[in-house]
């Protein structure tokens, strides 16, 4: 076996070109590595110097500057405090130490490397620290003493010695003077002594004053005067002591004075000495003698250290620059050397390599041109000779291969031609197939587009739900599918969601049941249901149809099922799901309309019923009233019976009022519609309403300034408004606020669509709002029904709102009521606006006084015998001549037979083909000028159009009183 090392040597000998190249590259690499090492060493040194400069040099310089500034600041602040006593200087002084000097020292101490140098040794730093500590201590002491009383010893002497002494001297002097005053009363010759004592008192005061002056900043200027004053005082005391006028007691006191005076002089001398001393102000003295020099030493030392540090920094910077320059030079030299070596070696090897390679290139070109006959010369033993030999071998092989290739080419040509023919045939059939397919796809796209357009146009919801209750497709989303289906949640795509994720559980179960039923029966399932949506409950009608398409689903097989053992690897399988298509339509409006219709039908039926009853009842009342009136008149002589008849008449009046309300609700009362300004009507009623409602209800009006007129019976509207006001009052037993508002409003199509009997258009609105107790929904539902009341039995008839309802409807308007428990009630009457200006009513009211006739003949036509009899009696009582008939035919005969008849008084409802209206028309046709007065229990007749009397028609509603009849007749007959 050949050892590995021998193999390598053999390879090296075998590949001398390889060895030469390797050697060449290694040489260049060695030069490069050497250059890099030199650069690295130089850079490292340079880096260390730069780091030192950046990390310590700059901070050290800054900290030194800061410290010097801090020391100067502290000194200045201390001087300010000592001189001026402003506490702010103390604050500044502390700040200088805490914020400048101490942080600066800490920063300086961190510059270890720079301080380790010879120029800034730690010993000097310690000395600086000690100096600073001494300086701080000294400054602290100065600031402590500066403003203390003890700062000036002279002042202390004055405080503790002179002042007590002066007090003592003053009290002795006062005693002497008092004694002298007492003595002088008995001896007038003692005046000189008194003068002397007073001189002593004055001299003492002067000495005291001058002594105090010496304590001030200019105290030295007073010392000489003080000494003179002390001498003067001393002389006065001596003179007084020798005065023969002194009494024994005065002598004793004067001795005491002398003793104290000696003490005073001593203290004064002490003060003078202290004041003259250089350290008369301890703080200033210490500041000058110790603190300032200490600060100067500190500043000098710090400045020296800073200067040394600066020198050190400059040295470091110089060294860094030198290191940088050396590095640059080293690198330049090494680069040149490396370039030279690389150039020499590369040149030699390039020459060795280039010649054989050029020969090889030439041979290759010949080979490419088809010349396979020339061999390369391969005499050497290196890789290039080996390459030449390989080239020759390759050339030989290529010659052989070329021959074989020509034969194979001929065979291939033949097979290609055969195959091409087959492909052309296949291609033709494919082109035809693709054309058919394109047509199919186009048709499909067209169909899909139509479907999409159709579903987009649909207002309904269209979606596909599978048998699991999962939304598969949403084909048409209606107007607001999110708001509709997401139960008020934030709208989100519902595709892929389960029904139970979108709807409440019970609704989801219902929907799933419908879908499954449709799938089971394969028939369309229709359902109606109410869904809670974000815009409130809405009704839907859904049509669910089974879909012939099945949806696939990827479901995971449970890991422990038996199937896993049979088909272990796949854990996902495709499951086909049946589905149904659901078309849901929002029928909320329809539902509401149905409810409105039912309500309207109900109100209409009630109206019919009440109208019929009222009509018959009116006839009865007419008879009763007529007879009672006659009876009442004839019983005038019997007061007891007369009163009973009067009571019966009042009861009939109430009955008549009741039937009028019923007729009003049933819209069968004759209305005298006039152009009416609601604002004026309301303003005219305010006084009445205030009296009616009482003081504890405040009436507010908000009347539109440009309110249009409306056509309505103003009397009836007043009555309706009063009814509403009374209802409001009853709803506010503890008082409250009633608001009356008018305005021009426009009821639009949308609103009209949800209401029964409402035509869109302009209306005049009258709103009556109270802040009373309001009504519960179940009460509100029956509010307009006659005889429905929530009041106590005796408080309300239940006809107020019914009458308002009937009036508004009869006037072609609309009424809406909004109420919530505890939030009050608002009733809005919408009356049609008058489109053209109408002339004011011209009706003339007859005077109430004279209703008697003058014997004119009147034809009474009435099918009810009792009523007719009452009418005849009444007319006669009024002074008219009468004829009577039970039907139209009899009436026409009578008219023909009695030309003096001037007025036809006929019931509107008459038996037979001709009613009262036709009778009147016929009679007036035959006898122009004949006047007509209609009467009726109610007026459901073309004569009354929309509840309004036709023009020039006079009617007297049953039951009527004789006086009313007389009044009408007088109006008609002039």
């Amino acid at each position: 076996m050949t050892p590995p090392r021998q193999n390598a040597e053999h390879a090296a000998q075998k590949h001398p070109l390889h060895r030469r190249l390797l050697f060449s590259h290694l040489s260049v690499a060695l030069v490069g590595v050497g250059m890099l090492l030199v650069a690295l060493v130089s850079t490292y040194e340079l880096r260390a110097r730069v780091i030192l400069l950046v990390n310590e040099g700059v901070p050290l310089a800054q900290a030194s500057t800061q410290m010097l500034a801090g020391v100067r600041h502290s000194l200045a602040s201390l001087r300010g405090w000592v001189s001026l006593g402003d506490p702010q200087f103390l604050v500044d002084w502390r700040a200088a130490w805490q914020q400048e000097i101490q942080p600066a020292i800490e920063r300086i101490k961190q510059c270890r490397h720079l301080l380790a140098g010879r120029s800034c040794d730690p010993e000097r730093l310690r000395e600086l620290q000690a100096l600073l500590a001494d300086l701080q201590e000294s400054q602290w002491w100065v600031q402590e003493v500066a403003r203390a009383p003890g700062n000036e010893p002279a002042r202390m002497t004055y405080l503790f010695k002179v002042e007590p002494s002066v007090r003592e001297l003053a009290s002795i002097t006062a005693a002497l003077l008092a004694l002298e005053e007492t003595t002088r009363e008995s001896d007038d010759g003692r005046k000189p002594l008194l003068v002397r004592l007073m001189e002593i008192q004055g001299a003492l005061a002067g000495s005291h004053l001058l002594l105090r002056e010496t304590l001030g900043p200019d105290g030295l200027h007073y010392i000489e005067r003080l000494e003179r004053q002390l001498g003067t005082t001393q002389a006065l005391v001596a003179q007084a002591t020798a005065d023969p006028l002194l009494t024994l007691e005065q002598g004793r006191l004067l001795r005491l004075f002398q003793r104290e005076w000696q003490a005073f002089i001593t203290f004064a001398g002490e003060i003078i000495r202290q004041r003259r001393a250089v350290d008369w102000n301890i703080a200033l003295h210490r500041l000058a003698a110790e603190t300032d020099p200490m600060a100067n030493r500190t500043i000098a030392l710090a400045t020296t250290m800073a200067a040394d540090a600066k020198i050190r920094l400059e040295q470091e910077a110089d060294a860094a620059r030198a290191a940088s320059a050396i590095t640059v030079w080293n690198l330049a030299i090494m680069i040149l050397v490396m370039l030279a070596v690389a150039y020499g070696m590369s040149r030699k090897h390039a020459r060795d390599l280039a010649l054989p390679i050029a020969a090889l290139a030439e041979a290759t070109q010949k080979l490419a041109m088809g010349s396979l006959s020339d061999n390369l010369i391969a005499n050497g033993n290196d890789e290039l000779s080996e390459l030449a030999r390989s080239f020759n071998t390759m050339r030989t092989s290529m010659q052989q291969a070329q021959t074989v290739l020509r034969e194979a080419y001929a065979q291939l040509e033949q097979r290609v031609m055969e195959r091409t023919a087959q492909l052309e045939t296949t291609n033709y059939s494919l082109i035809k197939e693709i054309a058919v397919r394109n047509q199919t796809e186009a048709a499909l796209r067209e169909s899909e587009a139509r479907l999409r357009a159709m579903t987009r146009a649909m207002p309904d919801l269209v979606f596909v739900v599978d048998e699991d209750g999962r939304y598969r497709e949403v084909l048409a989303a209606g107007r607001d599918i999110g708001a509709t289906l997401m139960r008020g949640k934030v709208p989100a795509p519902i595709r892929g969601k389960l029904l139970s994720e979108v709807h409440p559980p019970e609704m989801a179960a219902l929907f799933l049941d419908i879908i499954l039923r449709a799938l089971r029966t394969q028939q369309i399932q229709i359902a109606e249901y109410e869904l809670e949506t974000s815009s409130g409950p809405r009704w839907f009608e859904s049509r669910t149809a089974p879909l012939d398409v099945q949806f696939t689903d990827r479901s995971t097989i449970p890991a422990n099922t038996a199937q896993q053992h049979l088909f272990p690897p796949p854990d996902v399988q495709i499951v086909a799901k049946s589905a149904a298509i659901v078309v849901a339509r929002d029928i909320t409006k329809r539902k509401q309309a149905e409810v409105q219709l039912r309500q309207a039908q109900k109100m209409h039926a009630i109206g019919q019923l009440t109208g019929g009853i009222a009509h018959d009842f009116n006839n009865l009342l007419a008879v009763i009233m007529g007879n009672l009136e006659l009876l009442h008149e004839q019983l005038a002589a019997q007061p007891r019976l007369h009163e009973l008849a009067q009571q019966a008449l009042r009861a009939v009046d109430r009955g008549a009022n009741l039937t009028r309300r019923l007729l009003a609700f049933a819209r069968r009362q004759p209305l005298l519609a006039q152009p009416t300004d609601l604002n004026k009507l309301i303003l005219g009623m305010l006084d009445l309403m205030r009296r009616t409602l009482g003081a504890n209800i405040q009436i507010d009006t908000m009347l539109a300034t440009d309110l249009k007129q409306t056509l309505v019976d103003p009397d009836q509207l007043e009555s309706a408004l009063l009814n509403l006001a009374i209802n409001a009052r009853d709803a506010m037993p503890r008082g409250g606020k009633l608001a009356l508002e008018t305005g021009n409003v426009q009821l639009d199509e949308n609103y009209a669509a949800t209401q029964q009997d409402v035509r869109p258009g302009p209306y005049v609105m009258l709103a009556v709002r109270d802040n009373g107790g309001g009504m519960a929904p179940e009460v509100l539902e029956h509010a307009f029904e006659p005889f429905f009341t929530t009041k106590e039995t005796s408080k309300g008839s239940g006809l107020g709102l019914s009458m308002v309802y009937g009036l508004v409807k009869q006037s072609g308007g609309h009424i809406a009521i909004h109420s919530k428990l505890g939030q009050g009630t608002t009733v809005r009457l919408y009356l049609p606006q008058m489109q053209v200006a109408a002339s004011p009513p011209t009706g003339v009211k007859a005077a109430d006084t004279v209703f008697k006739g003058h014997g004119e003949t009147i034809l009474v036509v009435e099918d009810d015998t009792d009523v007719r009899l009452f009418a005849v009696n009444a007319l006669r009582a009024l002074g008219y001549d009468t004829r009577q008939a039970g039907d139209a035919a009899a009436a026409l005969e009578l008219l023909g037979a009695t030309p003096q008849i001037v007025l036809l008084f006929t019931d509107i409802v008459l038996p037979g083909e001709m009613d009262g209206v036709k009778l009147a028309a016929e009679a007036q046709r035959r006898y122009p000028g004949l006047r007509v007065l209609f009467t009726s229990g109610y007026t459901e007749h073309p004569l009354i159009v929309g509840g309004q009397l036709a023009e020039d028609v006079e009617i007297l509603a049953k039951p009527y009183r004789k006086n009313e009849l007389g009044q009408k007749l007088r109006i008609l007959l002039g």
Binding site: A133, E137, A148, P149, G150, M156, K161, R259, D279, I282
Partner: protein, 373 residues
């Protein structure tokens, strides 16, 4: 030998009082302040001697500090004379009290006891100051301060102070024309352990006779002086904050609050002394009735603090003299309490530094084997 402490400002006790200087009270021109002392050749010579002694080791100090009859300035007769002198002073003081109609000071346990020479000396010095203040109040003159021993404190110094104080007392009696009583034998019974208590009682009694009692301002001055001493002691440690930040002012403080803070300071000093092997006074405040404490009592405690610090300063302090105390104006116990807070912080630092390095930088630990007392 370390010079004895004395007053530095003229006449008024408590004004700029500090220790370690030469001079006499009431002698104009001889009042030496720190600057004068610093440049006084004699002072420099004495300081040199002091440092030589320190360098020679603390054993020698222990020998000289021993206040026994064999120590300098102490004789057996002096030791015996002290109780007699105290008794004589007490006798005359009682006559003066009766004459002045002043109340008798009740017995009071101040919570501190010591029979160390330096503590007795400082109490006698306080007695002298109070007696001198009484003399000034009555006869408007000041007495001459007692001479200061150039050597280590001894019983002779105590006796001298006592005699001077007694002389001042008799001067007062003469001024008041109180007839001298025939010589009576004073009771020499009180023994040395009782001298301290007797001096405390006398101090309290004299304070009651004064018109201007020893007030919180005097306590304040004494504490300020202690702060100066502590700052000098801390100057040995470069890392120390010599004058810590003043604690916030807390009003409504009583003398008892100041007393307790000063007792805490004394305990710190005792701990330091224990580390260094010094002997200090005994503290036991369990029997002290805090409600009876007066500013005069607190002043006595403050003076004891100063005496302890003065002792430490002599042993450990640098050569720079302490700053003189100064009259700070009207102060309340709350001010003294606040100021004692600075002192407390200083002593806590000192405790820490000394505990960390019992042999302070450049100094040898005082390893006296001979008790001072």
């Amino acid at each position: 030998m370390t010079p004895r402490p004395l007053l530095t400002t003229d006449e008024e006790p408590g004004f700029g009082r500090h220790f370690g200087q030469t001079g006499r009270h009431g002698q104009p021109g001889r009042c030496l302040r720190w600057r004068a002392v610093a440049w006084d050749p004699l002072r420099a010579c004495m300081l040199s001697v002091f440092f030589l002694l320190l360098a020679a080791g603390s054993h020698g100090y222990a020998e000289v500090a021993q206040p026994n009859p064999s120590s300098p300035g102490t004789t057996g007769s002096d030791t015996d004379a002290i109780p007699a002198q105290i008794a004589a002073y007490s006798q005359d003081l009682e006559r003066l009290r009766r004459f002045m109609g002043a109340p008798r000071a009740g017995k009071f346990n101040i919570g501190i006891h010591s029979d160390l020479t330096r503590d007795l000396y400082f109490q006698t010095l306080t007695l002298w100051q109070k007696t001198d203040r009484l003399l000034f109040e009555i006869s408007r003159v000041r007495a001459t301060s007692p001479p200061t021993s150039a050597d280590e404190l001894g019983t002779s110094d105590i006796l001298a102070n006592l005699q001077d104080a007694h002389e001042i007392l008799q001067q007062i009696m003469r001024a008041l024309e109180i007839a001298p009583e025939p010589e009576t034998r004073t009771d020499p019974t009180p023994t040395r352990p009782d001298n301290f208590t007797a001096l405390i009682d006398l101090n309290r009694q004299v304070d009651l006779l004064l018109e201007r009692h020893f007030a919180p301002s005097d306590v304040y001055m004494e504490i300020t002086l202690a702060i100066d001493y502590a700052a000098r002691l801390l100057a040995r440690y470069p890392e120390a904050i010599r004058i810590p930040e003043e604690p916030p002012f807390e009003p409504n403080k009583q003398p008892s609050d100041v007393y307790q803070r000063l007792i805490a300071c004394l305990r710190s000093i005792a701990h330091i002394a224990q580390i260094l092997g010094f002997t200090v006074l005994d503290i036991d405040t369990r029997q002290t009735d805090m409600t009876q404490l007066t500013p005069g009592d607190v002043y006595m405690v403050a003076s004891l603090v100063v005496s302890q610090l003065n002792h430490l300063y002599k042993q450990l302090g640098d050569n720079k003299p302490v700053a003189p105390a100064f009259y700070p104006g009207r102060k309340f116990p709350a001010h003294s309490y606040q100021r004692a807070g600075i002192l407390q912080a200083q002593l806590q630092q000192l405790e820490r530094f000394i505990a960390a390095a019992p042999t302070a930088p450049g100094e040898a630990k005082h390893d006296s084997t001979t008790p001072e007392r």
